[in-house]
């Protein structure tokens, strides 16, 4: 008798655990807000503004998902994570989605048990040094002291790069971008290395950005994208297609200013399907017909978000480069909405 009660308790516990991890969508709806993991602060990507409202390129993804699922782009709890804590936070269910310039790698996608829902920024690892050092190439960095963030692909790439090129270096492991910035500016390391976009964002926040150069070498591929827990396909689909909707909107010319008018119906059937004027794509992922429209309304299409947060008109000043639409020679290519 006692044994069966015991087993029964276990079975229920297991069921509850299994259930909780399977229906993120229901959890988010019941909670009324989306828990989104972001960085502890990288200007342009995810950082709170003067009013304490999170802004940035990665933040915009979470706002779009919240708008699609909950109808309110502001219904997001942002959870700052470091390179070391981000995966635990996602795996444990503390956050529903992680949008923190995280590189899509094989082991993270498979062994660590996550699902990357796409790439929102194609990047690569670079080096930044003080101009006064007179270094013009990464191959001149033998013996340098290098600041790196721990728990990242950065530290692995760095080890490989220096080993392959028969150079030595002195690693200074650091937890957050802010600390790395402080150590680098104090001269405690000669070089700061991370994703080139992160370097640009960090440099833009310096008092004299012109004193620092980003070296020409890009030593790795860093496709940065949002990710969710593996095993909840519906939730992964929602996140994936929300990102695709932002990309497709730019390709199709849907912007935040013409959104209302296009939603009423156009003569382009793909736009009609995307914005819910035709067919019922929303129902296929458990949402209503206007989900994508709301996602785009949150911060504009991919191009608008890029321009407003990290584009050439901002202090960070990143060019579109690889992140242009495929029609413009870039890599952005949203699958058809059909």
């Amino acid at each position: 008798m006692k044994k069966s009660v015991f087993l029964g308790t276990l079975a229920t516990a297991a069921l509850v655990a299994g259930y909780a991890s399977a229906a993120t969508l229901d959890d988010v709806k019941a909670r009324g807000s989306l828990n989104c993991g972001v960085s502890t602060g990288v200007n342009g990507f995810s950082a709170p503004d003067a009013n304490g409202v999170w802004q940035g390129f990665d933040v915009a993804v979470c706002r779009a998902v919240a708008a699609a699922v909950l109808g309110d782009p502001m219904a997001v709890n942002f959870v700052p994570t470091t390179g070391q804590t981000r995966f635990t936070a996602l795996a444990s269910g503390e956050i529903d989605i992680l949008a923190r310039n995280t590189t899509w790698t094989f082991s993270r996608d498979t062994d660590l048990g996550f699902t990357f829902i796409g790439v929102n920024y194609y990047d690569g690892q670079g080096f930044m040094v003080n101009r006064a050092l007179g270094v013009s190439s990464a191959t001149e960095l033998d013996g340098a002291t290098v600041c790196i963030q721990t728990g990242t692909t950065t530290e692995l790439n760095l080890a490989d790069y220096f080993r392959i090129n028969n150079m030595t270096y002195e690693p200074v492991p650091i937890e957050t971008n802010a600390e790395a910035q402080q150590q680098y500016l104090a001269g405690a390391c000669d070089v700061y290395t991370t994703d080139a976009s992160g370097l640009a964002a960090t440099r833009a926040s310096f008092e004299t950005p012109g004193d620092h150069v980003i070296l020409p070498e890009i030593i790795s591929k860093e496709p940065l994208g949002p990710l969710v827990r593996q095993g909840d396909d519906q939730w992964a689909d929602i996140a994936r297609w929300t990102l695709n909707a932002l990309v497709a909107a730019e390709e199709l010319g849907v912007t935040s200013s013409n959104l209302e008018q296009m939603a009423a119906g156009t003569n382009n059937p793909e736009i009609n399907r995307l914005l819910g004027a035709e067919g019922d794509l929303g129902a296929m992922i458990g949402l209503d017909a206007q989900w994508a429209m709301r996602a785009i309304a949150a911060g504009g299409n991919y191009g608008e978000i890029f321009a407003a947060t990290i584009g050439e008109a901002t202090p960070i000043g990143l060019a579109r480069g690889l992140n242009a639409q495929w029609t413009q020679g870039g890599l952005l290519y949203a699958p058809p909405f059909r």
């Binding site: 795996a91 013996g143 721990t150 200074v172 492991p173 937890e175 104090a186 001269g187 095993g231």
Partner: protein, 418 residues
């Protein structure tokens, strides 16, 4: 057995488990144990199912995969191509190195501060009170970060040592360089490498050091004999022969001969490229942890020492003075040996605290066990549970070893009650 055969034992009934006070506590304990085990089993089972649901089977295979990351402070050979296991060992050694350094420094500082707080000199005593109260009452992490910030913000960069009009220069006849990346001191080297000579190149110059230690122990023993002899002569004739120059000779002569044979020399740090090379580098992270932990824990040890000294009756001091002993000798020969009995037990827990607090190393990038196994390895492999369990186990073992050794010492010095 205290079985009273005279009284009639009532037959055992099940209800007695609850209503009979002889059995009730037993029942409650068995029940509590059962609930506890149920809880533990539930946790284990739940963890296992959840891990399986995530597709992460439990296992320690990851320890044998390539680590892929570099560690700056490597007491043993290690590269990014080594395994996670080796990275763990490097971390463990770094933890132990830091713990030993901090324990020694904290003890020295703590004993000094504790004794000085009882000084008759008003200023000294007040200064020590201020030191103890401020350092004891601010979290250790803050001290560590303060030291780290002072080192990296206010010390000169290596480039400041370069060129014609260098703004900084090395200290102590160009042998020590204090930079914002750490302190560089000369390294002791031997031209004659015993390890290589006897076909054990892995040992490096470890064999040389072993020989030196052996010789020092022998000198120590000889010196003891010499002193015993001097005491015997004193007892017999009333005059103590002069021994100091003989002692000096016993210690210095063999050591000097040995060092000359081994070709002892120092390697000085030298500015080359971006950094100083050669010599021994004590990195900022090590210095910050070492000083931070030491000054913080020393404040606690000082209080233990003060309590120990105050626990010794004033009569002891008076008796020593009556015998004509000077205050310094009284402290060293009469008070402290007795005070040790009071001081050692809390000292054990301070040593344990230091060892456990080394795990704050992550905050300043000190690559201890927590930062290697418990930090980067866990993060790169996603094996949080296994890593954390292993981490807990290792800390537990270290702590148990420390307290066993210290308890042994405590048993030796404590009052023998016969």
């Amino acid at each position: 057995m205290a079985m009273d055969s005279g009284a009639q034992q009532p037959a055992f009934r099940l209800s007695m488990l609850l209503y009979d006070s002889r059995y009730r506590s037993m029942t409650i304990q068995v029940f509590a144990l059962f609930v506890l085990m149920l809880g533990a089993a539930w946790l284990v089972y739940n963890t296992k199912t959840n891990l399986e649901a995530l597709g992460k089977p439990f296992g320690f295979d990851f320890l044998f995969n390539t680590a892929g990351y570099d560690i700056a402070q490597r007491p043993i050979e290690y590269s990014s191509q080594s395994t996670h296991l080796r990275a763990t060992v490097v971390g463990l050694l770094n933890t132990l190195i830091l713990a030993v350094m901090a324990c020694i420094m904290a003890t020295v500082l703590g004993v000094a501060a504790g004794v000085l707080r009882l000084s008759k000199n008003w200023i000294v005593a007040r200064l020590m009170t201020v030191y103890i109260e401020t350092f004891r009452n601010v979290p250790v992490l803050i001290w560590i970060i303060v030291v780290s910030a002072v080192m990296s913000e206010s010390m000169p960069a290596p480039s400041a040592f370069r060129g014609e009009n260098a703004t900084s220069s090395m200290l102590l006849f160009d042998s020590v360089a204090i930079t914002n990346r750490g302190v560089y001191v000369p390294a002791p080297l031997f031209s004659l490498d015993l390890g290589a000579m006897f076909g054990m190149p892995n040992l490096g110059t470890g064999l040389n050091w072993l020989v030196i230690i052996a010789v020092l122990i022998a000198s120590f023993w000889l010196n003891k004999r010499l002193l015993a002899h001097a005491t015997a002569v004193q007892n017999a004739t009333g005059v103590r022969p002069k021994t100091w120059w003989k002692s000096l000779l016993i210690f210095l002569a063999p050591l000097a001969v040995l060092l000359v044979i081994f070709g002892f020399h120092a390697e000085y740090p030298e500015l080359r490229g971006f950094n100083f090379t050669g010599g021994i580098q004590m990195r900022n992270s090590l210095i910050a942890m070492w000083i931070g932990l030491s000054i913080y824990t020393a404040a606690f040890i000082a209080e233990n020492v003060r309590a120990g000294i105050l626990a010794i009756a004033k009569g002891q001091t008076e008796a020593a003075y009556a015998l004509g002993m000077q205050p310094g000798k009284t402290m060293r020969l009469v008070i402290l040996p007795q005070a040790m009995r009071v001081i050692v037990p809390p000292l054990i827990s301070q040593y344990l605290n230091i060892t456990k607090n080394t795990s704050l190393g992550l905050a300043v990038g000190y690559m201890d066990l927590r930062s290697t196994l418990g930090g980067i390895t866990i993060n790169q492999t996603g094996r949080e549970l296994e890593g954390m369990l292993l981490l807990m186990l290792i800390y537990l073992v270290i702590s148990l070893i420390i307290s066993t050794v210290m308890n042994y010492y405590n048993n030796r010095i404590k009052l023998k009650e016969r």
